[in-house]
Symmetry: C2
C-alpha cells in the first residue's frame, strides 16, 4: 500500500474556515469541481466528460479531521481513503492531507499526486481570497489533464 | 521506505529540452533555485537563508533519465534519491518524478511533496514559456514556505 501525502498552510484562516470548505457542497465546489453534489452521506464529484469520484463520508470531527472513502470512480481509487487533518499553527491553519491505500504506485498515482497539490493550493486560495480554481478551470499539469 | 511521486506533461517540448533543464546549471537555476552551482559532479542547490541540498549525480541518460542522490541537506533527505524519467507522448514530454527512500512519512515529507509539485510546474513553465518560478520567487504553500 502506498500513499499520496501533502501539506499546505492556509494563512489568516481558522480550522473552522477550512473545515467548512471540506464539508459543504458550496465549499467543495469552490476548489475541487463545480459539479459537486451530495446524496445520503455520499459526495459526488464530477469532471465532465472524464468521469468522477463518489466519496462516502467516514468521519467529520469539526475543525479537526475529515475522512472519506472512495466508493466509486477509477478502479485504482476504489477502496482508498482520503483524509484531512487540520490544526492551528500561529497565523496559519495547517492541512495535512493523505490519499491512502493505493495498491500499487502506478503512473496514474504520480498524476493524481501532482493534481492533488494543485487542488490543495486551490483550496488554500479559496479560503484565503474567496477564489479557488475548481474544475473545469483547474490547473492543467499535462496530457492527462 | 516511502516515496514522493509526481507526473507532469510538458507541451510542445522534446525530452531533450527537459533533459537540458535537469542537467545544466542554467536550466536548474531557471526552475528550482537561482542559487545553483556544480562542483565535481555534485549539484549544490541553496535556498538562503534556510539551507539547501547537495545532489550527487548518479545517472544521466540523455533525454531519458536523470538520477541524483542526496549527499547533504536536511537529515530526512540524506541518502534518498531523486529520479526523473522522460518520454515522448504525442505533443507532450512526460516527466515521471520520484523522490524515493524516505525512512518515515514524517510531516516534512508532506510539505516536500507539495513543494515538489510546484517546482515541477515551474520546470514545465520554464520549458514551455521560457520562464519558471525558482526560489526565491517560488510558490509559497504554507508556514514552512
Amino acid at each position: 500500500m502506498v500513499d499520496i501525502l501533502h501539506r499546505v498552510g492556509v494563512k489568516d484562516a481558522t480550522p473552522e474556515n477550512v473545515y467548512e470548505a471540506l464539508t459543504t457542497v458550496d465549499g467543495l465546489a469552490g476548489w475541487w469541481t463545480t459539479d459537486t453534489s451530495e446524496h445520503d452521506g455520499v459526495l459526488r464529484f464530477r469532471f465532465p466528460p472524464i468521469g468522477g469520484f463518489d466519496m462516502e463520508v467516514l468521519e467529520t470531527r469539526p475543525a479537526e479531521r475529515v475522512t472519506w472513502k472512495v466508493v466509486d470512480g477509477p478502479e485504482e481509487w476504489i477502496g482508498t481513503t482520503v483524509d484531512w487533518q487540520l490544526r492551528r499553527e500561529g497565523e496559519y491553519t495547517v492541512i495535512l492531507f493523505g490519499h491512502r491505500g493505493w495498491k500499487e504506485p502506478v503512473e496514474f498515482m504520480n498524476h493524481c499526486s501532482t493534481k492533488w497539490a494543485t487542488f490543495l493550493l486551490s483550496l488554500k486560495s479559496l479560503v484565503e481570497n474567496g477564489k479557488g480554481s475548481p474544475a473545469p478551470d483547474d490547473v492543467r499539469v499535462g496530457d492527462w489533464h
